[in-house]
């Protein structure tokens, strides 16, 4: 059902929602950007629509709202383990089409790859999604190539036009609330882009022989292994375990999981000094093939959703989309 709401109307609707839900959306964090005097747009809790940033892409994805950067799994006390509490309140997450497709990847990883993940499942069960349409493509976006520029998997969509909001609501309870507020109805289709300035093409014949290409060597020196590309990615799901202790005697503490990255040192270290993929180029190869080759082999569709955040964030100006576009040539090189 479509609605056209004013800022005031939407805001009072949001304050109604905020009674039941914690609402997360892209927000502006002034002066916390990666360069001096720049802002950072990332996810934070909001209570008013005016806190949201509609016209810029968030540097970090929605991922941290359902997959916390640091998550306590359980507590240790003398000889006992106690499960950490799971947040009780339901959650609303605002996100864009590419990110909505990212949710499907997280679900497949955390619910379907091996046994379902207890902690993810608990949070995921409580989440509703509100789509933010994309009126125009942002820098480095390539969702059209990845087929993630549109989605209809949302509870509601909101597009901002000057001082009105165009809403498409599928959630029956919310529809009733909007109707009760007498918000005028009109058919609404969320905005979406049909072209990006960046496009990628993944070669049909791509396979693991491409690991032999020289193209990866370029990244040995360029990439500094900072892992930012992984942390901003809406589809990276890796974590490490960490034990934390509150007391010197080590009797009381907690086990947590924290986001990890296949680009940083130590990710594959085993006892006795063993380590795999020591070169940055090999890590780049592993990451790129995961996103556009082997994930598909396992799940039937590509992992990368084309949000382009990895390109936006890389301090070395390494472009993931460029790298994908080099794969065709690399396949020719290795099949000679």
């Amino acid at each position: 059902m479509g609605y056209i709401a004013t800022n005031l109307e939407l805001d009072s609707f949001m304050s109604e929602l905020a009674k039941k839900y914690r609402i997360f959306a892209p927000k502006r964090f002034v002066n916390s950007g990666i360069f001096s005097d720049t802002d950072c747009i990332r996810y934070g809790e909001i209570s008013s629509v005016n806190e949201m940033v509609f016209d810029e892409k968030s540097q970090y994805s929605f991922k941290e709202t359902i997959l916390p950067i640091i998550q306590t799994l359980f507590f240790f006390t003398e000889g006992n383990t106690n499960e950490a509490d799971i947040p009780q309140k339901d959650i609303i997450v605002f996100l864009r089409s590419c990110d909505m497709h990212g949710v499907k990847r997280l679900d497949d990883m955390y619910l379907n790859n091996g046994p379902a993940d207890y902690y993810y499942h608990q949070i995921r069960d409580k989440v509703k999604f509100i789509l933010m349409g994309c009126k125009q493509s942002f820098e480095n976006c390539f969702c059209v190539s990845m087929g993630t520029n549109r989605t209809d998997r949302y509870d509601m969509s909101i597009d901002q036009y000057d001082d009105i909001y165009r809403i498409d609501c599928k959630n029956k309870v919310w529809q009733k609330q909007l109707d009760d507020m007498n918000i005028p109805q009109e058919a609404v289709t969320p905005a979406y882009v049909t072209e990006n300035s960046t496009s990628v093409s993944i070669p049909e014949n791509l396979d693991f022989t491409v690991t032999k290409s020289k193209m990866w060597d370029e990244y040995d020196t360029r990439c500094i292994g900072c892992g930012r590309c992984n942390f901003v990615c809406p589809t990276c799901t890796c974590f490490s375990m960490q034990d934390m202790f509150y007391s010197e005697n080590g009797k009381v503490g907690e086990r947590r999981r924290v986001w990890a990255s296949c680009m940083v040192d130590g990710f594959t270290d085993v006892a006795g000094g063993g380590s795999y993929r020591q070169k940055k180029g090999q890590r780049m190869r592993f990451k790129v093939l995961h996103k556009v080759h082997d994930y598909k082999q396992r799940n039937g569709y590509h992992m990368c959703v084309g949000c382009g955040r990895c390109d936006d964030i890389c301090p070395e100006y390494i472009s993931f989309s460029n790298c994908i576009n080099k794969l065709s040539k690399a396949m020719k090189e290795v099949s000679k």
Partner: protein, 264 residues
């Protein structure tokens, strides 16, 4: 309600068997389905977790043979006394005994690599009628490093056991040399009906598989067990991933035709 696979359970240490200064077998209370080649995460609060293969399976226990190498394993050795350990598992696919039945079986193990296959060898040593022939080539660095001496002695009675050490200072009853030296000397009736299992350090596995291929054992008849860094054992943390495979879920046991495609 979904099960919480991250919270370990308490398992009583029923016995400790000391093989060497740094390798002990811990006999842990456990009741449930387990296959040889599967592993448990051994957990010590404050120090973390370490994946350890089951080296023996009984009605109400499992054996974990642990080598002392670092943070978690040091702590296991220092503080196990008369106590218990936290475990979660079993994880991984393990060995499917049925694959090896009715065939000639060669097991090649390097060092602690003997633990994950101990269950397989032990089963067939007691059911020799279920295989055409049965050989174990087990290599260690020095005579002092030999694990499961009692088992090795017992196995000798019912099967072909080649026990080797890389080097020995004085007299020794075992052969001296690398496990790979014994592969061309294997007496096999039908190589196409021979299956082989190879477990050990990466270099040893590489050359042993090469040796088996050289004598004409088809690659689809070779099985290996892989080790990678693991944090979850549940196909979530990504540390053990190689190519399209998660060692913790799809392995650690792999057919060589799959294993050879895995590029780290």
């Amino acid at each position: 309600m979904i099960r919480n696979d991250y919270v370990p359970f308490v398992s009583e240490i029923k016995d400790v068997i000391k093989h060497t200064d740094i390798e002990y077998t811990f006999r842990m209370a456990y009741v449930g389905e387990v296959k040889p080649g599967q592993f448990f995460e051994v957990s010590i609060p404050k120090y973390g977790e370490a994946p350890i293969s089951v080296s023996g399976i009984g009605k109400d226990f499992i054996d974990l043979t642990i080598r002392r190498v670092g943070k978690v394993t040091d702590e296991v050795f220092e503080h196990y006394v008369g106590d218990s350990l936290l475990l979660r598992g079993p994880y991984g696919n393990g060995f499917d005994i049925n694959i090896y039945k009715g065939r000639e079986l060669v097991v090649i193990a390097g060092g602690t690599g003997l633990s994950p296959v101990r269950g397989v060898v032990d089963y067939f040593s007691k059911h020799t009628d279920e295989v055409e022939s049965l050989t174990l080539i087990s290599g260690f660095k020095k005579p002092n490093d030999i694990l499961f001496s009692e088992d090795l002695a017992r196995w000798k009675e019912s099967m072909n056991v080649i026990l080797t050490v890389d080097y020995a200072d004085g007299d020794t009853e075992c052969q001296v040399g690398l496990v790979t030296e014994y592969i061309p000397k294997l007496k096999l009736n039908n190589k196409n009906n021979t299956t082989a299992i190879v477990v050990g350090p990466p270099a040893m596995m590489k050359f042993s598989v090469q040796g088996l291929l050289n004598i004409g054992i088809p690659e689809e008849n070779i099985w290996v067990s892989q080790e990678r860094k693991m944090c979850c054992g549940l196909g979530k943390c990504g540390h053990c991933k190689i190519g399209d495979v998660y060692v913790c879920l799809d392995g650690p046991v792999f057919n060589y035709t799959k294993s050879k495609t895995l590029i780290d």
